[in-house]
Subunit: 453 residues, 2 copies
């Protein structure tokens, strides 16, 4: 155990709260503890809170990383009782009340909040499929997706072999949920409108954008009408929508959908999430998908001092099904647990169980079209897109500057199809500043370029 | 040779111009050929034109990549006679008039413009020093520098060992020219102002920022008065300025300056440039520093069809010394050569030799202080900073949107010390979308993290 921390706990009699994960859930929990008399440690492997709902817009060059992510430290500057630690936890030891870290001292707690979120699931084929089918969960993923997409078209422009050229000009998105629909529509628009006038050799009208959905309709959580509208809107933009066919294989050449091999240089994986590995170390009560079944106060059975919230938690909603992985749900659960802990610390009665709710459903299809089920009403087209944009901008953490910046980019896109940063940026090799044009040494990184670890 | 290109050349009788490098020089040359009746191919290994003078502001989280870089294709959309190719040249064959590429077909030319720029020089110690002392020439370099700096302070916050903590909190900048001075002042301000209120454990006032200059004064090209002012301004900000001491060793622990070992987690290398390897393949007339000696029309002796311009060229200025590596110089040479070629193509007389000039000298020291020698006048302090900012904004390629965005960030920095994006962003490993908090698998990349190739 970390000597410093033990000392600190002995010196002060303040309760030690550890929150793992600075997503919507973890941040809301910490903020609800604003006035509590406790030492709070917020641990995250990144130094920023990420506004995941806009991640697909970074992947498609509409927004920049700084517009959708904020340093965790700057979000919590006003809370002197919060320590932020950028590091990784490997295991939770419930009996000893210790979070085991991958380096440095471990972290002892009196109360633990696990808000570790979800990660992409490849249904057991991660090792084979993940290198070729990019998931979209972090800023790094979004930048990698952007680089891959842009490099594929740069290659196509130079490629004399028609077959290889066609592969470079094909994008397959797997998964017809809100993320898959949003990114497919945006990519199709990006290729056919923004990139169209950039190239001399290739005809961007011939680019293929394919959306593959194993279920029988897009946006499964939405009404039939909305699903049909989304499919039509995508097809109007030239997207091939394939319903009711599962992906059976993914490799460097593309994907196999049912019996059909689709040669594609860019494959995005927007289906399947699972709880992250850390939550699985909670042992019992972990569902097969890695989420953790919790009691009605969101604590782990037998451990009233350990809460699991957000995408990591398995919480049944009013409709009898698990609550969806939405920002609004995560924030609501974080606030609930934060207030519950604050009340316990203040010895105030608070035994109200968590009340699940049915969140509004919002999906964007392209730069100006969406569908929504909002307060019982069905909304379609531009009003739904506008609602999606405004409701999300409202909960963005970056403050007025980021909101203004995003609005500016959207208005520009709506009026001109221009996008700010379709840049291919890759961290430099070996730290050498080789500017200008440095031939031969620094090859264009291949699709599979990854960080050496 | 590339079959397609040969066919294309046979089919059309248009002159084939190849420009290598889309920096200030190459872009100016291409633009000057706007109305020419020639097929122009612009080759660059990046897909963007980079505004290098602002690169240090990306490294220090003031600006974002999209604000200082523009896709080459979008800059040249209006010129249908220009093809942009994102790929790498390895060799120039002057006798066969062919640019040899690292992949795909080679590129035959009738007229060649080499605008390959400069890269960081480690005075023959590249293999040993470059991994530890980061140069600043590309967007990738700037992002890597930003990541390293931010990660060092995140580590320091967690580090119980005082000696290691002090190393993490030390930054050494090697080189006291305009880039070294600008980045040192900006980093010191960044640490002491922007980051100061972020951390709980470490006292940012104890961070060390050291500027090492082997010569006897900072800003060697400036007057004594300006050099002294820069040193004083930096020292007022808590920078240790070391003059007249060479760096004799660099490794993972830090640098050796004269006889003193300075333990430092972040070392930036802002001294020494050399022409890139491609220019060296021009054979004769290559200077030891890799730049190419040219005739007074900027062509290579014996090859009136091959021009070398910008940082890659060795051109003597009015003061008898090589012209400095500035945007204004590169643009001027690019324009000259572009017009010369256009006149030759139109069979117009144009034998005027290139007229070198003495460019204005501008240096920024911190977010509101600079020194300048502008049209024979000496300017110091805020007016010099303002002049630096406005003159550079004027030549920025990104258009009104980027200018406005940069101005907004500067005003915010001037008034609040806030910076937009102090984010640590690294491309994802293996393409797997592991969101939320994914422990153990994805370690915080080490300092030495590089792309696997």
């Amino acid at each position: 155990m970390n000597a410093r921390l033990t000392v600190a706990t002995n010196q002060t009699s303040r309760v030690k709260i550890v929150v793992i994960g600075a997503g919507f859930a973890g941040l809301a929990a910490v903020r609800a503890l604003r006035n509590s008399n406790a030492d709070i440690t917020l641990v995250d492997r990144n130094n920023h809170h990420l506004f995941q709902p806009f991640l697909f817009q970074v992947a498609t060059s509409i927004l920049e990383p700084a517009e959708i992510a904020t340093p965790i430290r700057s979000l919590l500057q006003e809370m002197p009782n919060v320590r932020v630690e950028m590091r990784e936890a490997t295991r939770i030891d419930l009996s000893r009340r210790v979070v085991v870290m991958n380096e440095g001292g471990n972290l002892a707690y009196d109360i633990l909040v696990v808000a570790t979120g979800a990660q992409t699931s490849y249904f057991g084929r991660e090792a084979e499929w993940a290198p070729h089918a990019l998931g979209l969960k972090s800023l790094g993923d979004a930048i990698t997706a952007r680089n891959r997409l842009l490099k594929a078209f740069e290659r196509a422009e130079l490629e004399p072999d028609r077959r290889k050229q066609a592969r470079d000009m094909t994008v397959v998105v797997v998964g017809g949920g809100p993320t898959g629909v949003a990114i497919t529509g945006t990519i199709s628009e990006f290729i056919r409108r923004t990139l169209a006038s950039d190239f001399r050799n290739i005809d961007l009208g011939k680019a293929r954008v394919v959306l593959v959905q194993s279920g029988s309709k897009l946006l499964p959580a939405f009404s039939e009408q909305h699903s049909a509208y989304a499919a039509r809107a995508l097809e109007d933009q030239g997207v091939e929508v394939k319903l009711g066919v599962p992906v059976t294989h993914v490799d460097a050449t593309g994907v196999v959908v049912g019996d059909e091999h689709i040669a594609a240089a860019t494959v995005l994986w927007c289906t399947g999430v699972q709880g992250v590995a850390l939550a699985r170390t909670l042992g019992a009560h972990v569902k097969p998908d890695g989420t953790v079944a919790v009691l009605n106060d969101l604590s782990v059975p037998g451990h009233p001092e350990c809460f699991v919230i957000g995408d990591a938690a398995h919480v049944i909603g009013p409709d009898g099904r698990p609550m969806p992985g939405l920002a609004s749900v995560a924030q609501d659960q974080g606030r609930y647990v934060g207030r519950l802990i604050a009340a316990r610390l203040a010895n105030t009665a608070h035994s109200k169980p968590y009340e699940s709710f049915t969140p509004s459903k919002l999906a964007t299809i392209s730069r100006h079209v969406g569908v929504a089920e909002f307060r019982g009403r069905s909304i379609i087209g531009f009003p739904a897109w506008l609602l999606w944009g405004l409701l999300h901008l409202r909960i963005l953490s970056g403050g007025g500057h980021a909101r203004l910046s995003i609005l500016g980019n959207w208005v520009r896109l709506l009026t001109t199809y221009r996008r700010s940063g379709r840049l291919i940026v890759e961290p430099s090799e070996l730290g050498a500043g080789r500017g200008g044009y440095a031939p031969a040494i620094n090859e264009i990184a291949e699709d599979t370029a990854i960080w050496r670890r």
